[in-house]
Symmetry: C2
DNA sequence: GCACTGGATTTGATCGTTCATATTCGCTCG
DNA sequence: CGAGCGAATATGAACGATCAAATCCAGTGC
C-alpha cells in the first residue's frame, strides 16, 4: 500500500495565543463570544488571527462542543422516467438558506440493502449531523416515525402526524387547486377533469381533494383520472384516453406540470387547441413549461420561503431546544397564463 | 436564551472495551484493522459492539485520524430560466458512487459576497472535507487554479489545464457531435445549422467544434448560430430567426436538449414537421424530451460511469496520494430517434 | 485602606478516538 | 530450559478545540 499522504497540520489556537500574548481561551472567545473581550483586546487578537490565517479545526470543535453545523438531507430518488420535479429548485433554496445560517447540507442516501431508517441511524449514531431535513414526506413516513422516536431534530417539507413533532412546513395545495377550479369555472367550463398520478403521494391527494372541493363549490361536473405511473409513456396514454373518450372535458386540471406536458402532447396530436378547445392548468411551475405554447397556467411554490422556514424551525430545535407547536402552511401562488383561455369563453 | 439541549453522549470505546474485557485499542482494531485480531477475539468483540450498538464518533475519529470521509461538491448555480440540465442526474450518480465508497457529499455554495475560492478555502482551512468534486468546469476555472495551487485533492468533470493535476473526466462531446452530423449527412441533408449557447462553456465549444469538423468531413454547408442567453425566450427568438430566414437549414444540430426544446416550439408554430421538413438532433438526453413528438435524437451522457470514475480518481488522490497522469475521456452515446427522419429522405 | 463587585482573562480538564510504542503471550529452537 | 520471535493486545500520548471554574484586575463604596 502506498504511503498515506502526511496530514498537514495548520495553525492552532495555541499558536495564535502565543503570538497575541493571550491565552487559548481568549482566542476561542474572540471567535465564539466576542462580547466577552475588551474592544481593544478583540481588535488586537483579531488582527493576529487574520495575520496567521487561523481557522478553527471543525472536527476538534465538533468533538468538544457536540455540534456539527451540518444538516443531513436524504436525497429523494430521482427516476429519470419520473424526475423529481422540485429537486433542483428546492435543493438550491435549501443550500442557500442553510448557508446563510452557517450550516451545510450533507446529501445522504441509503446504501444498497440498507433501509431508510438505518441510513438515518448511522448518521445519528456516529454523531455526524445536527439534524435532518426531509422532503417528499409520505403519510406514515417511516423516517418521521424513526426520528420522532429517537427524539432527534428534524424538519419536514410535508405534514407530520399529530403525535409527531409539528416541525413541518407545507403548501396549501388544496386551496391553490380550488383557486384553479375557480378560474376554470369563471371561464364557463362545466366538464372538468383532474389528472392525477396515483402513487399515493400526499401532496397529490391534497391537490385532488382541492379539485373535488372546487367542483363541488362551483357546481361543476368533475372527474378524477389517475395515471398508474408517472413516466411519460403512461401519462400520454392515459391522457389520450381522457381526451378521446366520450364527454371529453373542456378543461383539465393536472396535478403537476409534469402531467400537463402529457396533455399538451396529446392535445397537439389530436388537433385540440389549448386555450380554445381545451383549458389547462397545472401545478409546480417547472422551468421547462416556459417552452409550452400557449404558456401554462400553474401554481408556483414558494420554495425559498419554504426552505427558509424549514431551516429556521430546524435550527430552533437544534440550538434552542424549542419544537414548534404547529406546522406552517404557506400558500401556493397561482400564475395565470393563456392556457386557460379568455374569460367567458365556453 | 432557552437552555441548550444537553448533549447526548453515547457508547464509547471505553464502554465496549470494559464490557468485552479487552482494551480500547482492540476495539478500534476490530473496526479498522480486523486482520490484527485473532478470529475468536474478533468475533467476541464484534458481538459486544453489536450488543451495545457502538458506533465510533465521527468527530473524534476525524480529529485524530485527519480524515473526514466527506467530499465537497460546489453546487452549480441553478437559474430557473436556464436550469442546470444535468444537476439532478449527475448529483444522483455522484451521491451513489461516493456512498458506495463510504464517503458523503457536502453541498457547498459561496455565501453572498464570497468568491468561489474563498468558499473552498473556508472548507480547507477548517479541515471540513477530504477533497472536492467539481463540475461545470470552465476554461481557466479559478477553482482549479486555487486547488492546484493549494495542492488539495480534487477531481473535475471537465478538462483541466495541462499544468494542473489531470484528475479529470470528460465526455468526448466533439466526437459525439461528429457522429450526429454523420447521421444527418446520411439522410441526405446538405444545409445544416448548429444551435449553440454563447455563454462560453467549454463543453458547448467542444460540441460546436465537433459540428464544424463533421460538416467539413462530410462536405456539408454548416453554420453556427448562437443564442445570447439560455433562457427560453431568447432561445425561441433566435431559433425563429434561424427557421424563417432565407436558406433555411433542413437539419439542426442543437448544442443541448434545452435548446432543442426551442426548436420544437418554433417548428410547430411555423408549421414545419420535424422528421420531414426538418431534422433535429441534440445533446444530453434530458428526461423531459420523452414528451417530444417525434422523439428526439440526442446524445446520452454516461453519468454513472463519469461519477464513478471521478470518485475513484479522487479517492486515489486522497487515500493513496496518487494523482492520475492523464484525464479520462468517455464516449457519449448517440440515441437515434425519429426526429432525424428516415434514411435517404430529402 | 479594605472588602466588594462584575467584567476580562487564564487554567485545568475533557470530548472520543487513533497513533506510536510498549508489553504480553504462546511457540519454536538451539 | 531459556532465549528469541512474531502475533496479539495494552498503554500513554496526542489530535485541537471548548467547557467550567478559578483568578486577576480596575473601579466603587464605606
Amino acid at each position: 500500500m502506498p504511503a498515506r499522504r502526511p496530514r498537514e497540520r495548520g495553525v492552532t489556537v495555541e499558536d495564535v495565543a502565543r503570538a497575541a500574548g493571550v491565552s487559548r481561551q481568549t482566542i476561542s472567545n474572540a471567535l465564539n463570544a466576542p462580547h466577552r473581550l475588551r474592544p481593544e483586546t478583540l481588535e488586537r487578537v483579531s488582527a493576529v488571527i487574520e495575520k496567521l490565517g487561523y481557522r478553527p479545526d471543525q472536527s476538534a470543535r465538533s468533538l468538544r462542543s457536540g455540534t456539527r453545523r451540518i444538516i443531513a438531507y436524504p436525497a429523494p430518488v430521482d427516476d429519470p422516467a419520473n424526475p423529481n420535479a422540485l429537486m433542483g429548485g428546492f435543493l438550491e433554496a435549501v443550500v442557500t438558506a442553510s448557508g446563510e445560517a452557517g450550516y451545510r447540507i450533507l446529501l445522504v442516501r441509503p446504501r444498497p440493502g440498507q433501509s431508510q431508517e438505518q441510513a438515518l441511524d448511522e448518521l445519528i449514531a456516529a454523531r455526524s449531523v445536527d439534524g435532518f431535513l426531509l422532503s417528499d414526506v409520505l403519510r406514515d413516513d417511516p423516517r418521521l416515525a424513526y426520528l420522532s422516536g429517537a427524539g432527534f431534530p428534524f424538519a419536514a417539507f410535508g405534514r407530520t402526524r399529530p403525535d409527531q413533532p409539528q416541525s413541518w412546513v407545507d403548501v396549501d395545495s388544496a386551496q391553490a387547486v380550488i383557486d384553479l377550479v375557480g378560474l376554470v369555472a369563471a371561464r364557463g367550463h362545466r366538464r372538468v377533469a383532474f389528472l392525477a398520478s396515483s402513487s399515493g403521494q400526499p401532496w397529490m391527494d391534497d391537490r385532488r381533494d382541492g379539485f373535488l372541493a372546487g367542483v363541488r363549490r362551483h357546481g361543476l361536473a368533475g372527474h378524477v383520472y389517475s395515471v398508474p405511473r408517472d413516466d411519460p409513456g403512461e401519462i400520454v396514454t392515459a391522457t389520450r384516453g381522457l381526451l378521446t373518450g366520450r364527454d371529453r372535458p373542456t378543461a383539465i386540471v393536472a396535478g403537476g406540470d409534469w402531467l400537463a406536458l402529457g396533455v399538451y402532447t396529446v392535445a397537439r396530436a389530436e388537433g385540440l387547441e389549448i386555450g380554445t378547445d381545451l383549458a389547462v392548468a397545472a401545478f409546480d411551475d417547472l422551468p421547462v413549461t416556459a417552452f409550452l405554447q400557449p404558456a401554462l397556467t400553474t401554481v408556483r411554490l414558494p420554495l425559498h420561503r419554504i426552505a427558509k422556514a424549514l431551516i429556521s424551525r430546524l435550527l430552533q430545535i437544534i440550538e434552542d431546544g424549542v419544537t414548534p407547536r404547529a406546522g406552517l402552511v404557506l400558500p401556493g401562488e397561482p400564475v395565470i397564463r393563456p392556457s386557460l383561455g379568455p374569460l367567458h369563453a365556453p
